[in-house]
């Protein structure tokens, strides 16, 4: 039972280790309550995020994907988030082509000190996804084959 | 000034009565500067302070009607000499951006209010649109030797977020104009202190105290006269000056001009056009001190 049926949707988050993951920690330390849908994957830098990750997540049945990195000019690796921004901008334009509403994806900047801001980001994005409802799923016995085909296509 | 300026003009109620001379001089000055004013057709009262003390929707509805009248002229903004009117018109526009509030206001109106029309003060457009430098160019009769203090009153640029004009604690618009007219501006420390506002009738004592303080300060800094941009301030300081003197056993004889009156003077308009005779505290001495050279226009008058 992955998501609480009706209650939760699948939301995947990719967070850079230095700012946003820390920001999410700060939010936790501050007990800033948030919706429980989001599952966070930690990456060293938003620049590490391959647009493929997001597409894969959506194809595999995520209802929303959230990316968060350090504020521009404040990247721990000095320029990773600029690369991220460029790639994600382009990727977002392709989502409709793949049959996903671009609103299912969002990227933002949250620093390690911005626990409050992280809370707001999670709340508003989760709302946004719940408004859209569940994303179209590829199910059934052939699902995995279809997926591998799509993966190959990408 | 090559491009000609046109504005919808909202006089406000006091312009028909106690601040007649403000209205006269504002129109005269704009005329002299080739600024065209068209009266807002069949304008009504903005509700002033009393309205917003009763209810914000009522207050905004009263203003909204006038904003609509402006829209009916095919214009998206108007100007008014009176800060109180200005505050209400601006507040109405601002608050009506909030849908829930707008609906409440529309409930009170015949037809849904136009939410696009903005408002500026006569002072603001003179400074920002016409420009102090250009005013300076038009001066034919500099106010040399006139030591004047500029008093702005409390709501001309407060709250800053709403009024979006000049500095909230230390406005300079009138100071700059007066300087351009050749007057000696004495920095007035209580520029934005309240004069007692509309309490003149129900609680005169308040006005006596607050306006009294303003007059005392004006005297202490050696101002021969004060300029104001607000009918209420002017009325309290001018019309009630004798009352104030009696109440505080002071003996002030400080003329309280509307800044437009002194502008007009410097632009060569006659005292009559500017309603100098409407002032309660006689400006005679001050004006005589000024007019070293006889003004031909005045002879004619």
């Amino acid at each position: 039972m992955p998501v609480l049926e009706g209650k939760e949707l699948r939301i995947v988050g990719f967070l850079c280790n230095w700012c946003s993951y820390g920001g999410a920690d700060t939010a936790g330390v501050g007990r800033f309550s948030q919706p429980t849908d989001l599952r966070i994957i930690r990456v060293p830098c938003s620049g590490r995020i391959d647009p493929l990750f997001i597409v894969k997540a959506l194809m595999n049945g995520a209802d929303g994907v959230l990316v968060s990195g350090c504020h521009p000019r404040d990247c721990h690796y000095s320029e990773g988030n600029f690369y991220a921004r460029r790639r994600l901008e382009i990727m977002q334009r392709f989502l409709p082509v793949l049959g996903y509403e671009p609103e299912r994806f969002a990227y933002t900047w949250v620093s390690a000190s911005e626990g409050q801001r992280w809370q707001e980001v999670v709340k508003s994005f989760t709302d946004q996804i719940h408004k859209l409802g569940p994303a179209p799923k590829i199910l059934g016995p052939q699902a995995s084959d279809t997926l591998s085909l799509m993966a190959a296509a990408l | 000034m090559n491009t000609s300026l046109n504005y919808a003009y909202y006089p406000g109620c006091s312009s028909t009565g106690t601040s007649l001379e403000y209205d006269m001089s504002s129109r005269a000055v704009c005329g002299a500067l080739d600024i065209t004013l068209t009266d807002v057709p069949d304008w009504s009262c903005c509700g002033s302070t009393p309205a917003h003390t009763v209810d914000h929707t009522l207050s905004s509805a009263l203003s909204a009607r006038n904003l609509d009248q402006v829209a009916s002229m095919g214009l998206d903004s108007c100007i008014t000499p009176c800060p109180s009117c200005l505050a209400n018109l601006k507040t109405a526009k601002h608050r009506m951006e909030e849908v829930g509030f707008r609906d409440k206001v529309n409930n009170l109106l015949d037809k849904p209010a136009n939410t696009q029309v903005g408002a500026k003060s006569v002072l603001q457009i003179l400074v920002e649109d016409y420009g102090v430098a250009n005013i300076k160019k038009k001066v034919v009769k500099p106010l040399t030797g006139l030591a004047v203090g500029a008093y702005y009153g409390c709501i001309l640029n407060r709250p800053a977020e709403l009024m979006q004009f000049d500095n909230r604690e230390h406005p300079m618009a009138m100071d700059n104009i007066m300087e351009a007219l050749g007057a000696t501006v004495v920095p007035f420390p209580l520029k934005v202190e309240c004069c007692g506002a509309s309490f003149g009738i129900p609680r005169k004592d308040l006005v006596m105290r607050l306006s009294g303080k303003l007059l005392d300060t004006a005297k202490s800094i050696g101002a021969m006269a004060l300029v104001t941009a607000c009918p209420l301030c002017q009325m309290n300081l001018d019309m009630r000056q004798t009352q104030i003197n009696n109440a505080n056993s002071s003996s002030h004889k400080i003329p309280i001009f509307y800044f437009t009156q002194l502008m007009g003077l410097a632009l060569g308009l006659t005292e009559k056009e500017l309603g100098m005779d409407k002032l309660c505290v006689s400006p005679r001495s001050v004006l005589d001190a000024l007019t070293s050279v006889e003004n031909p226009k005045e002879k004619a008058a």
Binding site: V12, A27, G28, V29, P35, T36, R39, C45, D50 | E169
Partner: protein, 652 residues
């Protein structure tokens, strides 16, 4: 791979809103998981021993701990598994405290979420590979940026510890804000008497190289091997031969230069030595006020200088220094209070800042220690101190408390009485923040023994009345509006991040908060570290601090550096990129994108291939997501590992 899973209660921190037993039970069903349990405190000694035991008993190939954030205990548990003979990278953490139990009350949802996070961790762990650090040499020299009291402390401690220290100070003298102070609280002892000797020590210490009037131009490299470019700003005086005799100052005809050391109280000469005890005691020319440099007239200083060290042609000079660690001690600056129009916004000469007042109190200051009104030089009788000017004020974007104003105001009130026994001081305050040894007693003394009148309320406006200033405030305890006829008003102007702090942070690759103060590694456990290895913080650059705390941090930072340098070699983080020669087509994209120039080209059987220099690679993984072939992979964050986490989440 045989995997063991340990789900931590963290006392009630996690257990209260997550059914850890259920999480462990669910984990047992995951592929490869051979052992799973829930424990009270996994990080405690018994908790760690349990892990070690389990690894031995079930001969586990990898371990997952579901507890707090990896930023807290990843290192701890890596050491634990290592003790049991596993490679430290065959370990993963699932953050079920900060990211689950602390942000939601719904036990069912939390438990379910925790299970997902553990599944992710195990899926990734299955694809983890043993990684081994490389060792590299350390350059045991340290750079201290900023010569205030914190920087001085750090520099001296390091130097005494036998390290070579390079100190770079922006202004012409070290000493920072403390050098400008007359006395210090709560002991009221003379600031320069305490600081002076320390400044001299810096100048004379054989291990310390001081670059005053210099700034950091560029920083390259990494912990153990930084390369720093220092910009020595043109002083137009050859410091090697300048003796600091001061004749140039006496003779200089241009006496209108802003006296920044005296906070603009009084003026100084175009060529000047900041103050008599300056270190280094060397003259410099302020070009904008020097008639020789502006109009090519004068040239008096060149004529009078006995050692002929004036050089009007001098240019900025750049020098490189190699160091292994950096201590940042850039301090703070004062908030620009002119935004307070109601306080005159700078229009009234007799409204001054506390630091200006401090200069006035100082015997070596422009007034020779006499309190005078800037306007007419008269002795003030009523002095009003206003607290929280640019502190605890959202409306000016400074919601934080500066923390030391309450104390220095009490000090200044006391000193005022000493200087002018006939005077009366009034302090408008909101709360008295006097936490610290003997601090509260001190503020009490200001009230009880020195009869300072404390008024609880903010001031709404100040305006001139005759030759006095009328201060109109509130006494909220009286519930009344109050007025004071003041001769002099002293504003306790708050502290903000030093000018240029953020630019420097970007050069250092450390993060800073929204006010420009530098972020420490961990608010509790890493107060002087940053998230960049080898870069440490000291003093007010991390947040407003008084002298004792700044000094303490200076020493703490020094201790960290000495600790770092206690090893001759450092271990590189093996989580770096690795090129798969077979896949690499030598397109060079990764070389272009790498922020560190950690990738170069190499020849391999006549083909060009990318090659990662492990010690330079910082492990950001930008190359990995750039490589069209997937040939460059950031180890421990490979595409496969991340995608396995994605699948773990979405496919179930």
């Amino acid at each position: 791979m045989k995997i063991g899973v340990f789900v931590c209660h963290c006392g009630s921190n996690i257990e209260a809103t997550v059914d850890t037993a259920a999480v462990a039970a669910a984990a047992r069903e995951f592929p490869d998981v051979v052992f799973a349990t829930d424990t009270m405190y996994t990080c405690s000694e018994p908790g760690q021993d349990e892990i070690v035991a389990a690894i031995k008993e079930h001969n586990l190939g990898g371990v997952v701990v579901a507890s707090c954030t990896p930023r807290m205990h990843e290192q701890t548990f890596r050491r634990t598994v290592e003790r049991a003979g596993l490679n430290r990278y065959l370990f993963e953490m699932a953050n079920i405290r900060e990211h689950v139990s602390w942000i939601g009350k719904d036990r069912e949802a939390n438990t379910n979420k925790s299970i997902d996070l553990v599944r992710m961790a195990t899926e990734k762990l299955m694809r983890n590979r043993p990684l081994f650090s490389k060792k590299f040499d350390v350059n045991k020299r340290v750079l201290v940026i900023g010569g205030g009291v914190a920087g001085i402390q750090a520099a001296l401690d390091c130097a005494d510890g036998g390290l070579e220290v390079v100190m770079v100070e922006k202004t012409a003298t070290i000493g920072g804000k403390m050098a400008k102070l007359d006395k210090t609280f709560p002991t009221v002892d003379c600031s320069s008497c305490i600081l002076g000797p320390r400044m001299v020590d810096v100048a004379q210490h054989p291990n310390i190289t001081l670059y005053a009037y210099s700034e950091i131009e560029e920083i390259n490299g990494y912990v153990g091997n930084f390369e720093i470019t220092v910009k020595k700003k043109a002083t137009y005086v050859n410091w090697d031969s300048c003796t600091g005799c001061g004749i140039c100052m006496e003779k200089c005809p241009s006496k209108k230069a802003t006296d920044s050391f005296n906070e603009g109280i009084g003026k100084t000469t175009a060529i000047n030595i900041p103050f008599p005890q300056a270190i280094p005691k060397k003259a410099k020319i302020d070009p904008e006020f020097c008639t020789k440099l502006t109009k090519d007239k004068c040239g008096v200083c060149a004529k009078v200088c006995p050692s002929g060290c004036i050089d009007y042609e001098m240019q900025d000079e750049f020098v490189t220094e190699k160091v292994g660690a950096i201590v940042t001690a850039t301090g703070y600056d004062l908030f620009d209070w002119s935004v307070y129009g109601e306080y005159g916004g700078g229009r009234y000469p007799d409204v001054i800042t506390a630091l200006q007042y401090e200069r006035m109190l100082s015997a070596s200051g422009p007034t020779g220690g006499h309190i005078k009104r800037p306007s007419d030089g008269k002795e003030p009788k009523n002095i009003v101190f206003i607290q929280c000017v640019g502190s605890r004020d959202k409306s000016v974007g400074r919601p934080y408390c500066t923390g030391f104003c309450c104390m220095y105001t009490a000090k200044q009130a006391i000193l005022t009485k000493d200087h002018l026994p006939g005077s009366q001081s009034y302090v408008f305050y909101m709360d008295i923040r006097a936490v610290g040894k003997l601090y509260d007693e001190f503020t009490r003394r200001a009230m009880e023994e020195y009869d300072t009148k404390y008024i609880r309320g903010r001031v709404s406006m100040i305006y001139p009345k005759n030759d006095k200033l009328l201060v109109r405030g509130a006494d909220t305890l009286m519930g009344a509006q109050v007025e004071v006829d003041a001769d002099l008003v002293v504003l306790a102007v708050g502290a903000e991040a030093a000018v240029g702090a953020s630019e420097l942070a970007e050069k250092l690759r450390i993060s800073y908060d929204s006010y420009g103060f530098y972020m420490e590694g961990h608010p509790k456990l890493k107060p002087v570290e940053t998230n960049t290895a080898g870069v440490y913080l000291a003093g007010a650059c991390q947040g407003p601090k008084d002298i004792p705390s700044s000094v303490a941090q200076g020493s703490a930072a020094a201790a960290k550096v000495l600790g770092l340098f206690s090893k001759d070699q450092l271990e590189s983080d093996p989580q770096v990129s690795l090129v798969d020669i077979k896949r690499c087509i030598g397109c060079g994209k990764c070389i272009k994108t790498c922020p560190y120039g950690a990738i170069n080209e190499m020849e391999f059987r006549g083909l060009t291939k990318a090659n990662v220099i492990e010690t330079i690679c910082q492990g950001c993984g930008i190359c990995t997501s750039t490589c069209p072939q997937g040939a460059v992979q950031l180890q421990n964050f490979t595409d496969n590992q991340i995608l396995s986490e994605v699948n773990a989440l979405c496919r179930f």
